[in-house]
Symmetry: C2
Subunit: 546 residues, 2 copies
Amino acid sequence: MSQPQPWELQARKAKDILENSIPKQWLLPEDKFPPAEEKSVIDFPRKSGLLTERELGITELSATALVAEMGAGELSAEEVVVAFLKRSVLGHQLFNFATEFMADKAIARAKELDEYYQRTGKLVGPLHGVPISVKEHVGIKGLTCNAGFVAWADQVATEDALLLQCLEKAGAVFHVRTNQPQSLMHLDCSNNLTGTTLNPHNRTLSPGGSSGGEGASTGFKCAPLGVGSDIGGSIRAPAAFSGSYGLKTTALRNPMTGIKAAGPGQESIRGVIGPLASQSIEDLELFQQVIIDQEPWDVETSLAPVPWKRATPTRDITVGIMWDDGTVRPHPPIIRALKYAKEKLMAAGIKIVDWEPYKHDHGWEIVSAMYFADGTEAQQTVLKQSGEPYLPLTKWAFQYSSGTPLTVSENWALNYARDHYRDEYHALMKSRGVDFILAPTYLGVAAVLGEPQYWNYTAIWNILDQPAVVFPSGLVVDEELDKAEEGYQPRNAADEREWKKYRPERYVGAPIGLQLVGKRFKDEEVLAAAKVVEEVLGAEASKDIN
Amino acid sequence: MSQPQPWELQARKAKDILENSIPKQWLLPEDKFPPAEEKSVIDFPRKSGLLTERELGITELSATALVAEMGAGELSAEEVVVAFLKRSVLGHQLFNFATEFMADKAIARAKELDEYYQRTGKLVGPLHGVPISVKEHVGIKGLTCNAGFVAWADQVATEDALLLQCLEKAGAVFHVRTNQPQSLMHLDCSNNLTGTTLNPHNRTLSPGGSSGGEGASTGFKCAPLGVGSDIGGSIRAPAAFSGSYGLKTTALRNPMTGIKAAGPGQESIRGVIGPLASQSIEDLELFQQVIIDQEPWDVETSLAPVPWKRATPTRDITVGIMWDDGTVRPHPPIIRALKYAKEKLMAAGIKIVDWEPYKHDHGWEIVSAMYFADGTEAQQTVLKQSGEPYLPLTKWAFQYSSGTPLTVSENWALNYARDHYRDEYHALMKSRGVDFILAPTYLGVAAVLGEPQYWNYTAIWNILDQPAVVFPSGLVVDEELDKAEEGYQPRNAADEREWKKYRPERYVGAPIGLQLVGKRFKDEEVLAAAKVVEEVLGAEASKDIN
């Protein structure tokens, strides 16, 4: 028997943290598990018998509804967090989405909240008692923070991320930390620390990434709200793949202090931190309101001091539908969902036009060069520290870099091109009279594990820095309706690669998410518009669809 | 006789543009000039006999007052611009501040405005008929834009800078373009194109830089408002040296589209464009209000969409006085002005504390490395294109660079350090209860020509990205009161160099400006507070001081 490699010993630390943190009293015995060949486990909470009816009911409520119930004294924070903890433990056994449970602390915190409520008759804040799952690289004081790198398995955060401080002040309870891919740069969710997270709708599929643990968490209702981050699609792909909701805000709105990633100070393409939600767009709004109302720019001064407006949903909007980005043609389920949306929206009297994408290939050239302007040095330095093996999708992402660092001058030229492209795109939306763009989130539904390779249905809105909301269309893949397009002539190698992946039977059970994109800094408006679109689509989430 | 060098032929183009543009009818014959040894020409407009009493009166009005008079039908836009043009031509003959006059266009525009007013009884906008001088590197459609480089002497701007578009929409009239130093990176104002601009208060002194032409323009009342730019002090040094007003805004407020400089896309340290004013802080506010009320972020999407608030001046503020930055001790006149301010402010019941500077040397290390992160490649490429000689202060600035480009990774580390430093500084202001910092603008009053070498009384607020207003203290250098400090033991080489420069007789006539600094994005508040401070100091500008 061979000795474990040093990196394996180091990775073991993260596994130990996870295993030691699991509340053993709620573990389901292995013989009660669904068979491995049962792809979808989305129904399993009820089948498992682990949760009471009341607990099942609690976990199917939105954050907004939970707060209302707690405010009315109908629910206690303690029973709420216990219900979500039980569902989380179950979920973790089924699809490996957690990196660490914080059960004792969460329950203690919930008891404090209950005590406060009993004493004062008031809620602590607008998130009183709401359990929130948190992507692992968002630092929590005293806990390790590895950001998907084995080398960092024992690095401890010295304070809570500023965003978590804001959430906590509003009453949130953090009960579980969630998985992310090696280097954070996959639209998938696999690392050498705690392994691979699966999609609860179909365990042969990816939950998306890099906030894949959050996709699975909110998709399975382990939490009504989750904290993810997004520099190329890392909130949105998980939300779409997992049948939940997600918001990528405009940059410089939510505070980034205390978030760990390789290459701090890189700001040509800014990552954002933001919410995923299991139940509603309203909950994404609630999350944002809580953060921005606390004026985080008074601590993190680089933020834009833009208050959170209360935007009223209206049907007096023009929505452009982007059918295709011109590079990789979306798979049949996505096109079906867009057609469905178009019909429904037109029938509801909303003005619909086709949105011709504008130089998305150019946008991709800029953003892909920016991801690793240092020639991947920041990431590779950390990978080499431990000697952990490079995962295939890490290698895949690294090839976006030319392999050698850009010069500062080259980086400046890209910044300039980026700003010009943003201004052009914005001017085009104005001149075409388009308020919002309804678009695919990804070329297809949830990718097969290991297969998400094409980023530009999401990354384009990062380089453009436009806010984007992902929500379930209410449709799921249908083997009859979503047959593969035969005799298609691919436009290029990427198009061919993605087209070849598609056979409907590979994607059974996958929800179809859509993405609504707004203008820069119109985060409030795009959420309000997404509510309208979702309402018109008649889909209150994929929650009834298995 | 030797042949002119190719660069001299190229530079000649800029000289020709200037010379051909001067309205010859208003030139003062050389025999009417004050003698060369007469240092101050600040009184000369009245003495010259060139301007009528009415014209002299017009040029002594603020922009706010001018608009009010035009709104009341008391003044025409045409007579206003003619008065300022005459004063500008005179000023140019005395201290060489213009790069191009736009007399015909300005007069034609003024006539249009008058015609509009006569037809409608209304003003075009809040800057109706206000003549504004414009630093040369702020592009004007169809005119050359050289940014202080001989190589660019024949580069033509294809559109007006966005900021100028906003000003023009509000009714502004652009009548003269103004001088700047080679490479734009001096706190002085000399180049190989149109030469050296002098300080109207003392022609052996610098008008400041890089917006030195604007300092001279507003200091001599060639325009009530001017457009300058500032990445290390380039609005504030000219305002202070020339006895006028200046505002360096927080970055990302005023639009930068259409401004020419070497190294576009450099954004680690952002330059800003903003106003200088000859008469009042109120005019700086007017300028800002006009720009921001037009929501320039709807065109230049990288701006922060932060509306312009109307801030009310209040004495309920705490002002920290920064006596010294800890590296280079200010000259006696500056210390005297700060003491004077402290007494007056305390007597007025304003809370005053001492402000201990926080790691300004660290701030300088960051910002000086950022100015030329490419190892000066951007500037040197343009300099070498023409072969023009490097001016001494260009070489001086270039030594801030290590001479070799930073790597992208090094640049990221600096960005990170910068943000951390900003957050620390902001937290310190909050914890000390300080709303505003009253500080020197420069270690001394206007430097002797060629001598401004120490940047960090202004550059520190660029790296911190805090807004700063410069205004005249009402005091001028006094040979009796401002004697050199004898037996001073310099702290370091820079301190020694600057201390040795000081003998009061070198600075006769120089006004003493001060700088009030606010918190990030509190541009409105710092302007309101500066009004209070100026009012308390009882100084309505240096306009009565010669």
